[in-house]
């Protein structure tokens, strides 16, 4: 993704890349806007601005959050009190994420940290936030394992969880197997390849469970390291097993490495479905592969521009348009990546529906007040710019802290744009299988 003159971001990235973010005191970055009437409200924003995750969606996640805070402040903050983000770069390393979280909570004395791109970071961090009774507001990390059976009280996740990814991709294939592929659903051969962290493992487990539920055979299920230098043997094994549909769960560069080696290794299939992270960076994939990624699919919460804004709750369409305009003015992109929408949307939900009422109620900013406000959030479907509603699972529930109204969609790429194809009720008919002449389509 190119950026046009976002010098602050570039500087931040540079500082982070040089390791400065880990060694110097956090720079409290006041947001521009008219909210100047009172003491600022400080919140943490932790994402990966360097390392491999930066290029797999974490940077647009941060940029989306940045726009949300700017807009919130432009609209007056909380009764004139602006939000000030204390940023941290977790550098795509779990140990750095833990140290930065300790710094934000200890040195900076913050009551809440938002962001957290990677499930590999969210898993170890969540227990620490819970133990310190500080709020962790996850805007991206999706592994079900972060929350399942943990009964956390201070960890909240407005976005989707990994079980929903498996349900989306397997359901889409199951629904269209007979009509589009001409194969009975229980005869469609599936393969699952995934990065071996909590994110990949969680989504792969969900795919397997959903496939079993629908009696769809999995001919190969295999994990790999996202930093593996070679995946050609995996390609060979996939070619041997001849799957009809391949599900990949990866970051980057593993996705591009796999696609490149799959092409040169003669691997052909009827469809390939990615599951967020690197697969949601359509700009990058298009830059690298061009039309070769046309008609491939991806599962993630919908980027806001894919939705019909007129069908959202009153005022939400305007909010979505404001976000898209502001984001596009700051960053040059062909198609806003879902992570930008996630960063904006989930930060906006926090600021508008959790922080604002909590501050108004208590006059201050405490994790306990934020927690109480979060549990009272009740946004109907269509009430956020990504289409889903918000209602958190209460303490005691198996997924306490998880947004029960989050929705993942399956999207398909077409000429560097994405369009929703599942749920079928809101999507357009998919192109399935990959059309003849496609670089990865089965040869007749």
């Amino acid at each position: 993704m190119q950026s046009n003159g976002t010098s602050r971001r570039t500087l931040l990235q540079a500082g982070a890349g040089l390791g400065l973010a880990a060694t110097v005191p956090a720079t409290a970055r006041a947001q521009t806007g008219p909210a100047r009437g009172g003491d600022p409200l400080r919140i943490g924003v932790m994402t990966d601005l360097s390392g491999p995750f930066a290029g797999a969606g974490s940077v647009p996640l941060f940029q989306g959050a940045e726009v949300a805070i700017e807009l919130f402040n432009e609209r007056g903050g909380v009764d004139g009190r602006p939000i000030v983000a204390v940023t941290a770069d977790s550098q795509s390393k779990a140990d750095v994420a833990i140290n930065e979280a300790e710094r934000l909570l200890g040195q900076e004395r913050l009551e809440v940290v938002t962001g957290i791109y990677s499930s590999a970071h969210a898993v170890p961090l969540s227990g620490r936030f819970e133990a310190q009774r500080k709020m962790m507001w996850i805007t991206s990390a999706i592994a079900t394992a972060v929350l399942k059976d943990k009964n956390y009280r201070y960890v909240f996740r407005p976005t989707v969880h990994s079980d929903q990814y498996g349900e989306g991709s397997v359901s889409m294939i199951h629904e269209h197997a007979q009509s589009k592929l001409g194969i009975a659903p229980d005869k469609v051969k599936l393969a699952v390849i995934y990065e071996d962290g909590p994110y990949g493992t969680g989504v792969a487990a969900a795919i397997e469970a959903n496939a079993k539920q629908r009696s769809m055979p999995i001919v190969l299920k295999e994990a790999y390291s996202a930093s593996a230098p070679d995946l050609s043997t995996l390609v060979t094994k996939l070619r041997r097993e001849r799957p009809d549909v391949i599900f990949q769960v990866g970051y980057n560069p593993d996705i591009t490495l796999f696609l490149r080696q799959a092409k040169s290794g003669g691997l052909r299939f009827r469809m390939l479905i990615g599951h967020g992270a690197g697969w949601s960076q359509i700009d990058r994939l298009w830059d690298t592969f061009g039309a070769d990624v046309n008609h491939m699919c991806n599962v993630d919460p919908a980027a806001t521009q894919m939705l019909d804004w007129s069908k959202l709750q009153p005022g939400i369409g305007d909010l979505a348009k404001t976000f898209v305009d502001k984001f596009a003015a700051k960053h040059q992109v062909r198609d806003l990546p879902p992570h930008a929408s996630m960063g904006f949307n989930n930060t906006w939900i926090f600021l508008e529906h959790v922080l604002k009422p909590a501050v108004r109620k208590t006059g201050g900013l405490s994790a306990d007040a934020l927690r109480e406000a979060a549990l009272e959030v009740d946004i109907p479907v269509g009430g956020t710019i990504q289409g889903y509603g918000v209602k958190f699972e209460p303490p005691g529930a198996a997924m306490a802290g998880q947004n029960a109204r989050s929705i993942a969609v399956v999207m398909q790429f077409e000429n560097a744009k994405s369009r929703v194809i599942w749920p079928t009720a809101i999507g357009v008919p998919p192109v399935l299988p990959l059309p003849p002449g496609h670089a990865y389509a089965l040869r007749s």
């Binding site: 060979t236 041997r240 980057n252």
Partner: protein, 284 residues
């Protein structure tokens, strides 16, 4: 023979070619200068960016971009020696390792500053070769052949030239050679430049196979070090052979087991070698 197993074998050999050049360069520098360049993979990363920039941004022909990459990274190797390594030659080894480790982070940070964290692709691909049911990547095969040619040229340089002979002599006994009129500082400089050029050549071969980003060195850097140690640190032939051995273990292990399992086997093999032959598999 199962054609898919045969393909895994071929993949393993080609993967060995990917590891072999960085292993050669690293071993050359260590063998002569007696300093481990912890930032070696990052020199390769800079080389990959050089090719990417010249080809996709400056519009140079690919061959010319490759040709420019070798001397550019050779100069970088020279500068690394002059600025970082030479002042520390008489320091304890840990200082040298920490200093080149610092260069590693510096180069990653500098690349982030200049190119951001985006993944850059050369967009160059060669059609695969198809023999029966066996597919061989054209790009990897070309890279493998180039690696062999590069290794051959290095061997000829070390074997048949006066400077090469001096390099080998210094590598064998750095105490005696100065007494015979060889200026070790000059040889260190030449070895650093040649080591840099090998990193440049490795960059040319890798940039057609991997996306370049500031942390691409993490994909092959650690395993390159492991290969060097396994082959015998400073032993160029040992490192070269160990690269192919490691490539085969990873590929065949992945074929019989899983991709993750193959690395377990590779690391277990490495540990066993370290127990049985602490100076390396091919140490004399």
């Amino acid at each position: 023979m199962d054609p898919f197993f045969l393909e895994a074998l071929v993949n393993g050999i080609l993967l060995g070619g990917v590891f072999a050049l960085p292993a050669l360069g690293l071993n050359l520098v260590f063998g002569v200068v007696d300093v481990v360049w912890l930032c070696y993979a990052e020199l390769v990363m800079v080389g990959m960016y050089t090719v990417w920039f010249l080809y996709t941004q400056a519009g140079w022909p690919l061959g010319l971009a490759f040709a420019a990459c070798l001397p550019a990274i050779a100069v970088l190797g020279l500068l690394l020696h002059l600025i970082v390594v030479r002042p520390l030659l008489s320091s304890p080894p840990i200082n040298q390792v920490l200093a080149t480790g610092g260069v590693l982070f510096f180069l990653q940070g500098a690349a982030t500053l200049v190119f951001s964290t985006d993944f850059r692709s050369l967009g160059v691909d060669m059609p695969p070769m198809e023999v029966g049911e066996v597919f061989v990547s054209g790009t990897k095969l070309a890279a493998f052949i180039a690696a062999l040619v590069g290794a051959g040229i290095l061997w000829a340089f070390l074997k048949f030239t006066y400077v090469g002979t001096a390099i080998r002599a210094i590598a064998r006994d750095r105490e005696v050679m100065p007494l015979m009129g060889v200026d070790p500082q000059k040889i260190y400089l030449i070895a650093s430049a040649v080591g840099g050029a090998l990193a440049g050549l490795a960059a040319c071969l890798l940039v057609v196979q991997l996306d370049v980003h500031p942390f691409v060195g993490l994909s092959f850097g650690p395993i390159t070090f492991m290969i060097c140690v396994m082959g015998g640190l400073g032993n160029m032939l040992g490192g070269f052979l160990a690269a192919f051995l490691m490539g085969l273990i990873i590929s065949v292990g992945g074929f019989w087991g899983t991709t993750e399992f193959s690395y377990v086997v590779a690391f277990a093999f490495f540990i066993i070698v370290m127990f049985l032959r602490p100076k390396g598999l091919f140490a004399r």
